[in-house]
Amino acid sequence: MNALPIYAQLINLFAAFLLLLAFAMLAQRRVLSLIDLFAAQGLALAASTAVVAYGTGQTHLYWSAGLTFALKVFLLPWILYRLIRKLDVKWDVEGLINVPTTMLIGIVLVVFAFNLAVPISELASTVTRATLGIAMACVMLSFLMMITRRKAIPQVIGFLSMENGLFFAATSATYGMPMVVELGIALDVLVGVLILGVFFFQIREQFDSLDLRHLEKLKEGE
């Protein structure tokens, strides 16, 4: 392992941060702290992308890193913060399953993700291939977060964090998708969050809360 160049070690470090933050988000009950954690995850993602760009000389990844930085560290958290201020919701987030159980399930998911990633990373020629398992684990942890949360905003943050994991998978396995695709994805994410912002107001207007338990009236077969 000592033979790894310094930038590869840095990437592994950022990957570890990403996974750690995914776990922290899983356990975080306060919605404002959740946004901070999301921004931190975006920062780790942007930093690791920039390091990959530096280490491999793939210049288009600098653009990708800049895009991630602008979108996920500033723009999206800012929109979410504004939403929370306007909606005046600073409540504590309650999870569906208690935190220790969620964490244990999370660990199982990480093991599963690493196993799933082994055959793929063996084929990868990139220096960053070892991080593919972490990327998959992040996607699965975000998925778990979406399942366990009953409030609208944390669910959306889970969704965005899943996007982070996918982006990390793209950079770590392949040195990033073509630029036009990345731009398209970023645009979709941004528009999606804006639409959801409008949605939150309507949901609260109709139900007087953002608790998704109110949104379980439509049932199968009725």
Partner: protein, 483 residues
């Protein structure tokens, strides 16, 4: 080239114009005009492709062959007829106070935007852009489904957004894996996501990676196709949105999502010698057919009833493409066409029927034929057509699929037959009193748009009796491309 730009340009321009004037009285006419222009451009593009062969243009970003041009024509056509139907329908909704002027502006702009994303998804050669277009289609339809801002419609739209969002995130992962596998052969440039380039080297792609990628792609895009068990969003979104949106969701969106799956299947089949993709698709398809058929009998809401019927038919089509081979693919393409036409025609009739009776509950809809013969017969004939009664086109395609299944996959035939029988019994027993029965309805303030219903049904009838030779050649070519 010019036609291609026009096909994408008209809906985009229409969306821009309607975003400004969509609240005015003439907006529905602008909507129809933009859709008509799109349809004319699509027809011209179709002629060009049929005469000159496949087109690969604009730096290989767009690719049109017989397979997708047929869906482009279908999408533009149904988009056009739905815009005709939407004109009186939305006017009645406005007069009844269900939507205001601002919402109508959103509705019209998003309707065109939705058409644009569908056509972009169909025409692009880049699998990444395909993903982006389908995600954008989700976003536009979320706004359309939640148009009425009722608690139920908000719930439906939220569920739709989250389920399809997560689903399509899986598809993104699948796309990344595909890119990863291709990049080693094609280099890190933009080429590794272009379908034509991938198709050329598909036999050398790493089979293990492609197998995993296909699972993610099938689950991801399959969510949008409405395959069981990923179908939960579909009945809600169909039932709670405006009826023109239900018509385009069933008639167009499901087809386009399935198109994405099929394009990926072609690549995976080339890389993996075993029947991996084939079995997965047949399995998902069969489960969808059976589950949806049994859920049909439990429905009380007419739009939910036909939403479940869409799941059933998408299951049949997925199964057909799963089986593969020239006959099954041919039947699958034919079924895509007739299902889209019939289902949108049914939704047009259902839309006016629910407006007349003031409810979507089937118990409240009675005796449409006495009240309004056109709507009543439209509903009745449409239902018979979708249930696969001869001489309609659905019968022809289902017959082809069943006979192929008997030969190629005999184990699946009993499931298909039972499901089709159950679906027939439950849908027919529900629609029959709605069409005949004792009437209980009010007058509509505007003349309902029934021409699109009968035009669609006439085409379906014609396809059941006689498929034009040009169309047969065209379908055969497309079926061959799918392999």
């Amino acid at each position: 080239m010019l036609e291609l730009i026009a096909v994408l340009g008209f809906p985009l321009a229409g969306a821009a114009v309607l975003a400004l004037v969509g609240h005015r009285d003439e907006a529905p006419a602008v909507n129809v005009a933009a859709s008509l222009a799109t349809f004319v451009a699509a027809a011209a593009l179709t002629v060009r492709v049929v005469v000159d062969g496949p087109i690969l243009t604009l730096g290989k970003v767009f690719f049109v062959d017989s397979f997708n041009v047929f869906l482009v024509a279908l999408t533009a056509f149904v988009g056009f007829t739905t815009s005709i139907f939407s004109r009186p329908y939305m006017r009645i909704e406005k007069e009844r106070g269900h939507v205001d002027a601002a919402r109508l502006r959103l509705y019209h702009a998003m309707y065109q935007m939705f058409n644009f994303t569908m056509l972009l998804a169909l025409l692009t050669n880049n699998l990444g852009i395909l993903w982006v277009a389908l995600e954008a289609a989700t976003l536009t339809t979320v706004l359309l489904v939640s148009l009425y801002r009722t608690p139920a419609s908000l719930e439906a739209a939220w569920k739709y957004f989250i389920l399809c969002g997560v689903g399509i995130a899986q598809a993104l992962f699948g796309t990344i894996l595909l890119f990863f596998a291709a990049e080693k052969l094609l280099g890190a440039g933009g080429g590794a996501l272009l379908w034509t380039e991938l198709d050329a080297v598909k036999s050398q792609l790493e089979p293990n990676v492609l197998a995993i990628a296909f699972v993610f792609l099938l689950v991801g895009y399959g969510t949008k196709v409405g395959l069981v068990p990923l179908h939960n969003w579909l009945p809600d979104a169909h039932a709670e949105g405006p009826t023109p949106v239900s018509a385009v969701l069933s008639g167009l969106l499901l087809n386009v999502a399935l198109y994405a799956v099929i394009r990926c299947k072609v690549l995976v089949d080339g890389a993996i010698p075993t029947a991996f993709a084939k079995n997965l698709m047949m399995g998902f398809g069969l489960v969808s057919v059976v589950v949806a058929a049994f859920l049909l009998s439990r429905q009380k809401d007419i739009k939910r009833l036909f939403a479940y019927s869409s799941i059933e038919h998408m299951g049949i089509i997925t199964f057909a493409f799963g089986m593969g081979g020239p006959v099954a693919n041919f039947a699958g393409l034919l079924h895509m066409t007739v299902h889209s036409l019939t289902k949108s025609a049914i939704f047009f009739a259902v839309g006016h029927a629910t407006q007349k009776c003031g409810t979507q509950l089937m118990d409240g809809i009675r005796g449409m034929i006495t009240q309004s013969p056109l709507i009543g017969w439209g509903l009745m004939i449409g239902t018979l057509a979708i249930l696969g009664m001869p001489p309609f086109g659905v019968f022809a395609s289902e017959f082809l699929i069943l006979t192929t299944a008997m030969r190629a996959e005999p184990w699946a035939t009993p499931f298909l037959l039972v499901a089709l029988g159950v679906a027939f019994a439950s849908v027919f027993s529900k629609v029959q009193p709605m069409a005949f029965g004792e009437p209980s309805a009010a007058r509509l303030p505007h003349r309902p748009a029934m021409i699109p219903v009968f035009v669609h049904l006439a085409i379906v009838l014609m396809l059941g009796l006689w498929i034009p030779p040009a169309l047969v050649v065209w379908y055969r070519q497309a079926a061959q491309l799918i392999g």
